[in-house]
């Protein structure tokens, strides 16, 4: 295993060098970045190792129905975003000269409190979520190199911390693009090896279709399951494809666009990269049952077992690099937006020089410390942070893009608070996979399988409508001031 150490050291040094030499003057704005870099960075931020290893393992259990998630990610999570959301976001950001998504909403709706609120939840949730991403990458490295997981973790946190600190948003985009490229190579290599082994895609699909149904794939491996497992797939598609619209680290990626024409160039590049990475990984993992047999109980072991079975030693290392790249690209995006949120949205600082360094160091240390400590509350926050943030941001964000800020600051702030509270309450009291562990309660039957994204967005939207200045007959203080 030592013989591959230079490969990993070279990778680490390259990441730091890319970040260092591609930095811009403003840590929170990207400056001029080519569309290829933007597209690859979007994909690399979007796809973490959870999506590759974790969901890849789920493909072994659920079969080809998981392709619904990949298709949703490509069309709803990428095409729709570049077609309808990216350029209007950039126009508002440029008009308001905002540095973070929370500041964008705050300035647009003239509500300072929404910036503080979204800043606080972004900082806390994304630092903790980032810690889980670091931990996953460290475990992966400990599996392929003779180092302990904790030693690998400290090195990874230091490398990502340095690249965020030195590179700012521009450096992060360039390192992500490089990592996105590695992900395409790694997954492409695995897919080709698997198709060669099983005699091509048609033979593989035929063999998979012939397998008997299981408890999870209760309609076979080529059909959506009935009941809760099928509902789970549909909600996973919605959470990962629609929830993505309102993730601050991905909204920030649109700040690099220079013109509407760039969105038309970035969209096909990102869609192709995502089709290869996610579509290829899920297709290969679904077919992995043909090679690995039916006995695997821990889905997280599917991808490593598949890679060990199909690829030579160098290929295994390259695939491990791709998975670590998936983790680190997401971690650097999370650390960057968490640092920006803490400094700009919570402390209201300009974030140049020492103030930027201080917030990055604080967020990096916190993320590293959380990664070293395991607890059930950290695990729950990691599993829920994506949805909590989406529910707090999506309604005011989409409302801004659709109708401008005419609903008013009160509607925006309260819908954000309502979305966050609604989804938290559903996680604690109704959503069976989490609520039974937390409170001991759950909603009855299939209602308990409804993902908290849906009730969270409904509550947020209802609150937004109730307090919208556009609908209300009683003008709020701001409207009255405007009228005067």
């Amino acid at each position: 295993m030592f013989s591959f150490a230079p490969l990993w050291i070279g990778y680490a040094l390259l990441l730091i060098a890319i970040a260092k030499y591609s930095k811009s003057r403003d840590a929170l704005l990207p400056g001029k970045v080519s569309v290829v870099i933007q597209a690859l960075a979007y994909v690399a931020t979007y796809i973490s190792a959870v999506a590759l290893v974790g969901f890849g393992g789920l493909c072994y259990i659920f079969g080809m129905q998981m392709l619904l998630i990949a298709a949703g990610n490509v069309w709803l999570g990428t095409w729709f975003v570049y077609r309808y959301l990216a350029w209007p976001t950039r126009l508002w950001q440029r008009k308001l000269d905002s540095r973070t998504p929370a500041e964008l909403l705050s300035k647009a709706f003239d509500s300072p409190h929404i910036q503080t609120f979204i800043g606080i939840i972004s900082t806390v949730l994304l630092i903790i979520y980032g810690s889980a991403v670091f931990k996953g990458a460290a475990v992966m490295i400990a599996g392929v190199l003779p180092v302990s997981a904790n030693a690998a973790l400290i090195c990874l946190v230091a490398i990502v911390g340095m690249s965020v600190l030195w590179g700012g948003l521009r450096g992060v985009l360039y390192t992500e693009a490089f990592q996105g490229l590695l992900m395409i190579i790694g997954v492409g290599m695995l897919l080709i090896a698997l198709l060669y082994e099983i005699g091509g895609p048609i033979a593989g699909i035929k063999a998979l279709a012939a397998l008997p149904p299981t408890e999870s794939a209760n309609n076979g491996f080529m059909a959506l399951s009935s009941g809760a497992p099928g509902l789970n797939i549909i909600f996973l598609t919605l959470v990962t494809s629609v929830g993505i619209w309102a993730q601050p680290q991905l909204i920030q990626r649109h700040f690099a666009l220079k013109s509407m024409a760039e969105t038309k160039k970035a969209a096909p590049l990102a869609m192709l990269a995502l089709s290869v990475v996610v579509g290829g990984a899920y297709f290969a993992s679904a077919l992995s049952r043909l090679l690995l047999g039916p006995g695997i109980t821990n889905p997280d072991t599917v991808m490593p077992m598949l890679v060990n079975r199909l690829l030579p030693a160098f290929g295994q290392q390259l695939f491990a690099l791709a998975i670590v790249s998936a983790s680190l690209s997401t971690a650097s995006a999370l650390l960057h937006i968490a640092s920006g949120s803490l400094g700009r949205d919570v402390f209201k600082k300009q974030l140049t020089g020492w103030s930027w360094r201080a917030v990055v160091v604080i967020c990096t240390l916190c993320s590293g410390l959380f990664a070293l400590r395991s607890s059930s509350i950290i695990a729950i926050i990691c599993a829920t942070s994506w949805t909590l943030l989406a529910c707090a941001i999506i309604v005011p964000y989409l409302a801004l893009l659709i109708q401008g800020p005419k609903a008013g600051g009160r509607a925006a702030l309260l819908s954000s608070l309502g979305g966050f509270a609604g989804t938290t309450a559903w996680y604690i009291l109704a959503y069976a996979p989490t609520s039974v562990k937390i409170s001991g309660f759950s909603a009855p039957g299939i209602i308990g399988a409804i993902h908290p994204l849906l009730p969270g967005v409904i509550v947020s939207f209802a609150v937004f409508l109730s307090f919208s200045r556009a609908w209300s007959s009683v003008p709020d203080k701001q409207a009255a001031a405007d009228a005067r």
Partner: protein, 32 residues
Amino acid sequence: MFESADMWVLFSGAALLWSTGWSVIKIVRLAK
């Protein structure tokens, strides 16, 4: 083979193939 595939899986597979083909055509056109 595809008889056992339901609408969801067929639709997802077609959507992925379409996105791949469409993206390649778009990229080639943009590169020209």
